[in-house]
């Protein structure tokens, strides 16, 4: 299972790529694999403000719906509009083209509460 080294991870299987105070958020390879083929992604509206740990999105596969949480506090400044027609991008490229939304962070030190790749990998099943 892929776990890129340079990202921050949440226990609820989101990842954050921090760049200049902007957090790009997506779900991990583990998460997309457990949900199987996604058919729908309900993303937040641009301008919405989230606290860390708040419900921010819902992704659905044929028979499952899963809540996605804002791993850090911030305001939504962009969503991945391609997912509207191509939710399967989350399955194909969870750490790249399948990103979900971008948050303008309130406090960059929020990522200190997240896990690094090694700690995150320990949380996932070994197979």
């Amino acid at each position: 299972m892929a776990v890129p080294q340079d990202l921050f991870y949440a226990k609820t299987h989101e990842w954050v790529d921090l760049n200049d105070g902007i957090a790009t958020v997506g779900i991990t390879d583990f998460a997309q694999n457990q949900l199987s083929d996604l058919t729908f992604a309900e993303l937040p509206e641009v301008g919405t403000e989230f606290k860390a740990g708040e419900e921010a999105a819902v992704v659905e596969s044929v028979k499952a719906a899963a809540d996605i949480y804002a791993p850090v506090a911030g305001e939504v400044i962009e969503i991945n509009e391609r997912l509207e027609d191509n939710p399967e991008l989350v399955n194909k490229d969870p750490f790249g083209e399948g990103w979900l939304f971008k948050l303008k962070m309130v406090d960059e030190s929020d990522v200190d509460d997240m896990m690094d790749a090694d700690s995150y990998e320990e949380l996932c099943p070994n197979d």
């Binding site: 609820t12 044929v62 028979k63 719906a65 949380l123």
Partner: protein, 234 residues
């Protein structure tokens, strides 16, 4: 891994079942209880999943009311389905976000539970590509739809034993046009097992397939205090 199961002898109204699930979900998220499986029957009810489309409902709200069928929008995945007495509904409240997650995936495990249960009664069950649930030559017998919050599951699977399938005629089950619905009763007739026997089969196979040792309880029997306050309305 140890887990609990709670069996309800009498049919549970859908709303009450939902409230029990929500309380268990929260308790499981906060690690106050182990993984817990509810097994129950509902009073007649048609439920729509998150993306469930109302055009799969073949009756008006008033007609459903006249038929004694409740109507609910559920927050689960999956499309429209029908529940009623004579059908077992399995609501596993499981943490699926850690080491214990099965790489086969939860959906596939639930299907396997249904298929192995069918085998106990000599019925061949199978999966169909692109169509979830468990199928028999006579039609679909088990339907699946669930939701994860903080990677704890709720909602789950229904399995038709001896329920009146008329309720399914009021909907397009799972949005699949022209696909028949079956029950153990329609397949086995007089040889259809009793509800308690099928409950045992479902829980036994759940235990093996999902790798959880079940400590079994009856909702109206003695329960661990942590569970009693979640399962009973006071």
């Amino acid at each position: 891994m140890n887990a609990w199961s709670v069996h309800f002898k009498n049919p549970v109204p859908y709303q009450q079942g939902l409230e029990i699930q929500r309380r268990l979900l929260k308790a499981r998220q906060e690690n106050e209880i182990p993984d817990t499986v509810l097994i129950l029957q509902h009073n007649p009810v048609v439920t729509l999943g998150n993306r469930g489309r109302a055009n799969y409902l073949l009756k008006t709200e008033e007609e459903y009311r006249e038929l004694g069928i409740e109507l609910f929008h559920a927050e689960r995945g999956g499309d429209v389905t029908f529940h009623g007495p004579g059908q077992w509904v399995l609501y596993p409240i499981l943490y699926l976000g850690g080491n214990e997650a099965d790489s086969h995936g939860y959906l596939s495990n639930l299907e396997e539970v249904a298929i192995q249960t069918l085998a106990d009664y000599g019925v061949k069950g199978f999966r169909r590509e692109g169509k979830s649930g468990a199928w028999t030559d006579a039609g679909k017998i088990a339907a699946i739809g669930f939701r994860l919050k903080k990677w704890v599951s709720f909602h789950g699977m229904s399995f038709n034993v001896s329920n009146n399938l008329m309720g399914f005629n009021t909907i397009v089950p799972c949005g699949l046009v022209g696909e028949p619905v079956a029950s153990l009763k329609t397949i086995l007739g007089e040889d259809c097992p009793e509800m308690p026997a099928v409950c045992d089969s479902l829980l036994n196979h759940f235990s093996t397939v999902c790798n959880r040792k079940l400590e079994r309880f009856d909702a109206d029997g003695e329960l661990p205090p942590a569970l009693a306050k979640l399962v009973r309305d006071d």
